[in-house]
């Protein structure tokens, strides 16, 4: 029983990271109708920035905040420079853009910081949380930061005018323009926020997976799985999907014989395929019906 509780809690902790990645993916998907394949690499690059800042002597939280601001601005810049001009281009052009971005960021990180694995600090420590062997303080911190982030985002989108404007721009762009919303900047803002959310995921998971240019590959696939499971049209679903995937992954690794650590990733991919076959809109997604 203790093993079970332990695995569920650990699953919730990594699930929190998947939830952040899924949320970042869904925010951009809602804004521009494309999956951002480079979301993980952007998060990885941000994490390297924070590591570099700490190498230069800044405290963890100072580096954390500067990295958030950097990621926000970088996300907006990527949208303005690369994806705004592609807004009316066909799907495949955009996909090519995302893949290029992926490769560029991955190689640049390798060039600047090389591909050796680096230790990444945790501000929460890694002792047992509240004297319990079930969960470490870092895992508890991952859950805590994610919950705070989600509450903040909920408040932002539900109760602020700019949040309302962003939702309007994503749901009916033409009507949004007709009430005076600058939809183009709302998309850019969405990119900035998604990139900042991704950077939080990167900085929280780095002490677990260690810092290197390919650290987010697996994480992003879990994030996609979470987004597909919850429904790409539902931010709430993406978050729930993230936690579900985290728990599911851990339980499968522990209890299904022969899965172990090696086959965890294929399980996420199998999950994507099963959900797409059985419920294409995801658990919480809406079928978009287009009137002709």
């Amino acid at each position: 029983m203790e093993l079970f509780t332990n695995q569920v809690l650990a699953g919730i902790a990594t699930g929190a990271i998947y939830a952040c990645m899924a949320l970042a993916v869904v925010m951009i998907y809602q804004a521009i109708d494309h999956l951002n394949f480079a979301q993980g690499e952007m998060a990885m690059f941000s994490t390297f920035i924070s590591w570099q800042l700490m190498q230069w002597g800044l405290s963890y939280w100072a580096a954390f905040l500067i990295t958030l601001a950097f990621s926000f601005v970088a996300g907006i810049a990527i949208e303005r420079i690369l994806f705004k001009p592609l807004a009316k281009a066909p799907v495949l052009t955009n996909v090519a853009g995302f893949i290029a971005l992926f490769a560029i960021i991955n190689s640049s990180a390798g060039l600047i910081w090389d591909f050796t694995i680096k230790q990444y600090p945790t501000p929460f420590g890694s002792s047992p949380f509240l004297g319990s062997q079930l969960i470490s303080t870092h895992q508890a911190g991952m859950i805590g930061v994610t919950v705070l982030l989600l509450l903040g985002l909920y408040f932002f989108f539900q109760y602020t005018r700019i949040g309302l404007a962003m939702r309007a721009a994503a749901s009916v762009p033409e009507s949004a323009r007709l009430v005076g919303i600058n939809t183009s900047w709302m998309i850019a803002l969405g990119w900035g926020m998604a990139t900042a959310i991704g950077s939080i995921a990167g900085m929280l998971i780095a002490p677990v997976v260690f810092l290197e240019p390919n650290m987010m590959g697996g994480v992003l696939i879990y994030g996609f799985a979470a987004a597909v499971l919850g429904g790409l049209s539902s931010p709430f679903g993406a978050v729930v999907g993230g936690f579900l995937v985290g728990v599911f992954e851990n339980l499968a690794g522990t209890y299904i014989p022969g899965v172990g650590n090696e086959l965890k990733l294929p399980i996420a991919l199998a999950l994507i395929i099963s959900v797409l076959v059985v419920k294409p809109a995801g658990l919480f997604g809406r079928h978009i019906v287009k009137r002709v």
Binding site: R161, L164, A165, R167, A168, S171, V172, E174, S175, A176, R177, L178, V179, G180, I181, N182, T183, R286
Partner: protein, 237 residues
Amino acid sequence: MTTLLNVKDLRAYYGQVQALHGLSFSLNEGSLVTLLGANGAGKTTTLRAICNMVRSTGAIEFDGKPLNNRSTENIVRFGIAHVPQGRGTFTTMTVEENLQLGAITRKDSAGIVSDIERMYAHFPVLKQRHTQQAGTLSGGEQQMLAVARALMLRPRLMLLDEPSFGLAPLVVRDLFGILGKINREDKVSILVVEQNAQLALELADQAYVIETGRIVMSGKAKDIANNEEIRKSYLGY
């Protein structure tokens, strides 16, 4: 009477296809003007060109200021509220959020709150449903919501694209009654595009008839309604 909207030699294009061929008309401050015409005559395109949602040439002046080359979201800030064809409801949001979105360019939060109450007085059904998702409203209710959303801007000019479309005759009467009241009491100038010519002519002061992207007839709404020849050849009733 001062001219609020002045359109001169308007030509609009969808890709290579020209939809408007040099259309000119004007609208006086405080008046209610209707654009009539058959399907495909260019009524919707005219409204879309005013808000720069379609490529066009020619001069469009609002209150003496040119609107050409301004983005749609900037044109709204002049006080031009456009209720598009199909109503443009934010279906996944609540009725109240739809109203707040109508006022998203305004800064006076107290005024917005009192205007929402004013809309609920105009349209009691919206008050009953204010926490409901707008997509669950009936067609008539959504049209009321679209008009209310446009009024939340406190517009000087309201552009309405076929408000009667898909509504039951009784609901249409109701809606047109409200539009007339808004025009008289709130001093909002209205430009309404309609296929239901009979009803639009009862409501409007001035009417223009469009055929294949050109104005073919204009005058007082009363006169056009009384001219049997025009009615038969252009308006089909």
